[in-house]
């Protein structure tokens, strides 16, 4: 095992040993997955909608160059300034540059995965800009100097007591201000409201952009997305380059599934669509008499950071993803180890494809092993991404690039040599079965030697039958075998 793989296994062990985390994960993922199932069942034509949503995303990605171009022109025509970032550091340089030009001291931020991916907060802090996360969960994560552990429920790993202590230690909250969850929520509202008003810059991600109008759709339940994109004079939106749909009608189809898949809601509380900065009389920001509020400048940073490379290969289907998080909630691996163990911004089945896809296989090949390939993720995906297939492709790539463990690379050709020679296979099989039966304990093999030890540590395997399938089949044909039970 390489260092990355060892670290991954250590994080898994830590997560599995954390009883509080496992209880919280069971509660959260169970409730979200149940909510999704109920919401989808209540939707007439749910399956037809999924098919259509998949078709929309597949079509858009297949013509991504065209739609990016159309989106850019449409956004510019409505007064947006569009920037392009090839890498994470290009993206952070662009945003810090905008902040510097406008002498920004404080920025508010609405929850966004791509800004986590490019580590925007650290870059801004380094440039002297204080960044405040405004989603309640992300605000807590930031106070705790922690990382989000679920795409849509960032503090699934923290209890109300943890949050109360943080508010008291870091923000000086009084006892009554953290007495219960509504009190803590009201306290956070009060603290964050003045930050929203004082901030010179609002930073958001983009759930989906609409090519033909240059619109940005940002959904939240709390309303922080609306405040971030409405109060500060500058709005900077960070857009992963694949998150586009062609038209408003397409947006409506995907939105019909997005919140249902994420939380079981029919719609988020706020589906916020922004098309250019506020419209003032003659020109943008020119004279009063137009829209009374909204940002005077809107910058859109289109981020590649590995996406176009990912597009050129057999994992491209993952770019259909709309980041609802439904695959996390049903994944037997995620449900046990949570988001942190994956070691990446993007956890769960989607993360196990996206992370190596964007960052390369070298440090991340082990993620594709963290799956039982049960297919639950594919069954709930609103755009039907074949995640087990993509995970298998990653395993295949890892094997080809000799990232699989040495013993496995040696063992597979050996196995192939035996398995393609029936007589040899039957002979060695019967020898192995005899040894296994001798070593078994009341019909069960409880421990295997060598490289199989780890596999058998948590699994019992039934001892082989006294007669192999081939022997039994021959006997049946000869009419001397016992009837199949």
């Amino acid at each position: 095992m390489n260092d990355a793989s060892l670290a991954f296994h250590r994080r898994i062990d830590e997560a599995l040993a954390d009883g509080a985390l496992r209880r919280a994960l069971a509660l959260t993922t169970g409730r979200l997955a149940g909510g999704r199932a109920t919401a989808m069942a209540a939707l007439p034509d749910a399956e037809a909608l999924r098919t259509e949503a998949r078709r929309i995303r597949a079509h858009t990605i297949a013509h991504l160059d065209r739609y990016l171009d159309q989106f850019t022109r449409a956004a510019q025509a409505r007064g947006c300034q569009v920037h392009w970032a090839e890498t994470a550091s290009d993206a952070t340089r662009i945003v810090t540059g905008i902040a510097r030009e406008n002498a920004i001291a404080l920025a508010v931020k609405s929850k966004s995965m791509v800004t986590e991916e490019i580590e925007l907060n650290a870059a801004l802090e380094q440039a002297g800009v204080r960044v405040v996360e405004t989603d309640l969960g992300e605000f807590v994560v930031q106070l705790a100097a922690d990382r989000p552990s679920h795409i849509i429920a960032p503090i699934v790993h923290l209890s109300r007591g943890d949050v109360a202590r943080l508010f008291q230690d870091k923000l000086g909250a009084r006892e009554d201000e953290v007495a219960d969850i509504p009190a803590m929520t009201a306290f956070a509202r009060r603290i964050l409201r003045s930050q929203f008003i004082d901030a010179g810059m609002g930073i958001s991600g983009v759930n989906l952009a609409v090519a033909d109008t240059g619109s940005l759709c940002i959904v939240t339940n709390e309303g922080n997305g609306r405040l971030t994109t409405s109060l500060p004079r500058l709005h900077v939106a960070i857009l992963g380059l694949e998150r586009i749909v062609p038209t408003a009608a397409d947006l409506a189809v995907v939105l019909t599934l997005l919140a249902r898949s994420a939380t079981g809601q029919a719609v988020p509380v706020y589906t916020n669509v922004v098309t250019g900065p506020r419209r003032r009389g003659a020109g943008p920001g020119a004279s009063p008499g137009g829209e009374p509020d909204g940002p005077d400048e809107l910058h859109i940073v289109i981020v590649d950071n590995g996406r176009s490379r990912l597009l050129g290969g057999e994992l491209a289907e993952i770019l259909y993803c709309v980041r609802c998080g439904a695959c996390l909630n049903v994944c037997p691996v995620y449900r046990h180890i949570g988001g942190h163990a994956y070691g990446s911004v993007y956890p769960g089945p989607v993360g196990s494809v996206v992370t190596p896809g964007l960052m390369g296989l070298d440090d991340w090949s082990e993620l594709a092993q963290a799956s039982s390939l049960c297919g639950a993720c594919r069954d709930v995906c609103p755009v039907r991404i074949d995640l087990p297939h993509l995970l298998l492709k990653l395993r295949e790539q890892a094997a080809r690039r000799e990232l699989a463990p040495l013993w496995l690379r040696l063992a597979m050709p050996f196995f192939a040599a035996i398995a393609t020679r029936p007589a040899l296979y039957q002979f060695l099989g019967s020898v192995a079965a005899r040894i296994a039966r001798t070593a078994s304990d009341e019909g069960w093999i409880r421990r295997l030697p060598g490289p199989f030890a780890a596999w058998s540590a948590s699994r019992d395997f039934p001892a082989p039958a006294p007669r192999s399938f081939v022997q039994q089949h021959r006997a049946n044909k000869a009419g001397t075998g016992a009837p199949p039970s």
Binding site: H59, A62, H83, A153, I155, R226, L255, P292, L310, G313
Partner: protein, 228 residues
């Protein structure tokens, strides 16, 4: 900057030559859209009311400006609001409503957020004590209990965002079965203002221990007044 754009687009085009994209189609022919359930308006209203109630929002019905003003004054009194932000009268879909409210002693606070950053923050802080916001919704969506607000001159975003109570007026004639149905009928809806927002009940969060809590950043109380 243009160089970066060109390189990224070139990389995308290069990737598309090799991309494995199951179910991708070139044309958009044969597109499927959910059928309109063609329900009578009363049924849509009933669905809307049920959906809104499940989101902890409140539905009222009023046939006149004075009836709407009664409802608004009642909500303001119960929530301790003594002033309000509002869209201009002609955008509320209830002619004369603002003057009726004024005659009942509820003053409207007007604003125009300045471009200068310092002035901007000062002006917005001053709106902090306003207890209620009044808007006129462009549409209501029966399947999910959301209303649709379109920004524009005299139709600010802050009225539905800053105060703890939001009251929206919407006409029965603007009741649509779903977002897909509305967008199909009004293809250019998203471009109608710099901000088009669906609001489905009060602001909420369940971030702490999956416990549902209302009013985290946006309004804690949402009332919809349905008018003929």
């Amino acid at each position: 900057m243009n160089a970066a754009r060109d390189r990224i687009l070139a990389s995308v085009r290069d990737g598309l030559l090799r991309a494995v994209l199951p179910d991708a189609t070139d044309d958009r022919a044969g597109r499927w859209a959910p059928p309109d359930p063609a329900l009578p308006r009363d049924t849509l209203i009933e669905h809307f009311g049920r959906a809104l109630a499940s989101l902890a929002g409140h539905l009222h019905r009023a046939a006149s400006a004075s009836a709407a003003a009664d409802i608004i004054a009642g909500v303001a009194a119960s929530q301790g609001a003594t002033s309000y932000l509002s869209w201009d009268d002609e955008h509320l879909g209830c002619p004369g409503l603002l003057s009726v409210l004024e005659s009942r002693g509820l003053p409207r606070v007007t604003y125009d957020v300045p471009g200068d950053p310092v002035e901007r923050a000062r002006g917005t802080h001053e709106l902090g004590g306003v207890g209620l916001g009044l808007t006129g919704a462009h549409a209501a969506l029966a399947d999910c209990g959301a209303i649709v607000l379109v920004s524009g001159p005299g139709r600010g975003r802050l009225a539905s965002l800053l105060p703890p109570v939001h009251v929206a007026i919407v006409s029965e004639r603007r009741m649509w079965p779903s977002l897909t149905a509305l967008v199909r009928a009004e293809a250019d809806l998203l471009d109608a203002g710099s901000n088009v927002v669906l609001v489905a009940g009060p602001s909420r969060t369940a971030d702490i221990e999956m416990t549902l809590t209302h009013g985290v950043h946006g309004p804690k109380h949402v009332h919809v007044i349905l008018m003929p």
